[in-house]
């Protein structure tokens, strides 16, 4: 038996090789993605669709781990001389990638080398601002664009005697709703959040047009520092969470995406999460849910401002032996990904925002946003809301590490082991040490 099955396997693989051999003549383009689940499956399918649409290039989409692991693998591959052609990197990794000047080729430059047309103005303004250079060139291509939204459980709202069609707009309203959800015993936890630093530091600051670093939140120079210590609004927000944690009107759900499970299981009635988290909620939640914009403090001057961008973008690596043909393949695949057809399917399925104006308009024209209430919320929050000096995002090196420093210090505050002010003071001190270390090596 084993011998027969081995023979059969050999025969099958020979056939597979024979079938695949015409494609061997095509130039191979390695694409590393950091997504799993629905998003990852769809992205792999886009690769296959592209391969079927032409015969000069063959895109190989692979998953090498979550963003940080994948980045480490790409760093090792780059040092060995064979990095992937394209790598998807999340927002927080952007500062590091921008600092790696010799390792990446700006996307605008890739198209120039390939001799293909590329217009950065095709992309929605917040994405262009976040991933662009002052001269308008794009460093990386925005792909999965998201922003923070508030998901809430309508069933639990009704159970607590709250108006299920009136989600909280401000933090005081959210706190009241959360307390009511707890005191009426409608839910075990009122509110929780994913991506603590992204929501409570980055998005929160943008929402109130408050800076959390010097040099235009790090966008104007590597010598920027964090300014968290004398930031009353940021301290107040952490203190709010610490106070709410005591009666579980807020319940901390862990770093990254972990807290989404607490919302989906019905344990927590409200969740701040990336709009890209919609797909999983739509698939798994066994209750009616609604979507609202990120709450704000009404007494903050001019609030609410726009939230800022999240998600990930596509970076192109340079390597000593890259050919023009390879850059042309990369440019063609990127053109395919930013086409209205692909972009609209991507946005509709996953809950990410359309990254291009064209796809956005196409979705508007077919009435997608009116037919699917709630899907316009991230767009209203990101694009239509008021802009200020501090709503264009930030750019810091070693930011993934600084996010974890923030997580660690705020966790200590939530445990009751330090005050909110201390948490932010320590984050600033440790974060600035990391920024100085980055400044030293990034030249």
């Amino acid at each position: 038996m084993p011998i027969t099955s081995l023979k059969r396997a050999l025969a099958a693989s020979t056939l597979a090789v024979a079938a695949a051999s015409p494609a061997l003549a095509a130039t191979e383009i390695q694409f590393w993605m950091g997504l799993t689940g629905q998003g990852g499956e769809l992205l792999s399918r886009f690769g296959e669709d592209f391969n079927k649409s032409q015969s000069d290039y063959r895109v190989v989409v692979s998953f090498k781990g979550q963003y940080p692991e994948q980045r480490a693998a790409a760093v090792a591959a780059f040092r060995a001389g064979s990095p992937p052609h394209i790598m998807q990197m999340f927002d927080a990794g952007s500062g590091d990638m921008m600092g790696a000047k010799g390792a990446i080729v700006p996307v605008s430059e890739v198209f120039k080398r390939a001799g293909l047309q590329f217009n950065p103005a095709d992309f929605i303004p917040p994405a262009r601002g976040y991933y662009g250079l002052p001269n308008g060139d794009l460093l990386s291509m925005p792909f999965n664009v998201s922003t923070t939204v508030l998901f809430y459980n309508k069933d639990l709202f009704k159970k607590a005697g709250l108006d299920a069609e009136k989600p909280p707009k401000t933090w005081p309203e959210l706190i009241d709703a959360a307390k009511k959800l707890r005191s009426s015993n409608a839910a075990a936890c009122g509110y929780t959040t994913t991506w603590l630093a992204w929501v409570m530091l980055e998005q929160f600051s943008s929402r109130h047009n408050v800076a959390f670093g010097t040099q235009g939140n790090g966008r104007n120079g590597l010598d920027a520092s964090l300014t968290l210590t004398n930031n009353p609004l940021l301290i107040r927000q952490v203190q709010t969470l610490v106070d709410m944690q005591k009666d579980k009107s807020f319940d901390y759900g862990g770093r990254s995406n972990d807290a989404a499970a607490k919302f989906i299981s019905g344990e927590c009635a409200m969740l701040t999460q990336s709009s890209g988290g919609l797909g999983a909620i739509a698939r798994d939640a066994k209750f009616q849910y609604g979507v609202a914009q990120l709450p704000y403090w009404p007494e903050a001057k001019g609030a609410p401002y726009a939230t800022t961008i999240g998600g990930a973008s596509l970076w192109v690596f340079s390597a000593p032996n890259r050919t023009v043909a390879e850059y042309r393949g990369v440019a063609q695949f990127l053109t395919f990904l930013k086409s209205d057809k692909v972009m609209t399917e991507w946005a509709k399925t996953t809950g990410f925002l359309p990254a291009t104006n064209g796809a956005f308009k196409a979705m508007q024209d077919e009435g997608f946003f009116t037919k699917n209430p709630g899907r316009d919320v991230p767009i209203l929050s990101l694009i239509s809301a008021a802009k200020g000096d501090n709503t264009n995002g930030y750019r810091f090196g070693r930011w993934t590490e600084i996010r974890d420093v923030y997580h660690e210090e705020v966790e200590k505050a939530l445990q009751g082991n330090q005050t909110a002010a201390d948490a932010l003071r320590n984050t600033e001190r440790r974060g600035n040490a990391l920024l100085r270390a980055f400044e030293r090596t990034a030249n």
Partner: protein
Amino acid sequence: MERKVVFPQVGLPYLLLLPQVSITLVFFFWPGGQALYMSVLQQDPFGQSVQFVGLENFRLVFADEGYLQAVWRTAYFSFAVTVLAMVPALALAVMADRVVKGGTAYTTAMLVPYAIAPAVAGVLWLFMFNPSIGVLAWWLKAAGVDWNPTLDGSDAMWLVILASAWKQVAYNFLFFLAGLQAIPKSLLEAAAIDGARPFRRFVTIVFPLLSPTTFFLLVVGLVYAFFDTFGVISAVTQGGPAGATETLVYKVYKDGIHNLDLGGSAAQSVVLMVIVVALTMIQFRFVERRVHYS
């Protein structure tokens, strides 16, 4: 009188040694040397600006309050894991030693956890103790325990200690069982005739004769807790909350892979290298000498 085997050709012994030597060189000396080399450099992740900084990385490591806390945390964690992996293993081995029928099946069943990958073991425990969906977490809550490893540092620590110890019980069990079976039956019978009850026989005869095994397992257990528990911690807590489960080896991983601080991470792994060399020397010096007792 010593008898030496002399190979007729000069090349053959070297040829026979070659596989082992090359594996050692490629998988131990090369990476070890790389770590030493990188520990005296500071560089950006992509290796575009590299500068020699001498012992600066080591100075930074030891000046970091977080590192010193991690040293104590690791000592606490390793000691707890080792003890919790040895005591139940000894108890189970003593009982297995008495099983007359089906002893092999019982022993085999005991060994299964050892074959489970650390990350899988971690996920298993994570699910059982997950505050939202875990069965055991539900029982704990029903019993009035405020179980929350997501935010409570000591809950998280106990979770990774239990998961790590559970995996190692099987290994310890096997060695204890072998040790027990090597104890001459005549000694035990003589003691029994003299009127010593089972517990007294265990305290005065079995446990002293097991001491080389116990010491060996202590050292192996410490090395395991120091270095091999990374998978469990990575799967269960990622070093959190607030760094409560960040051990030295997890910190090496986090600083090297997540934070891409290659110099700092290399300096930390050199420190770990020194620790493991010290532990191995202790083991050679005290265990290997006393292992022939029968």
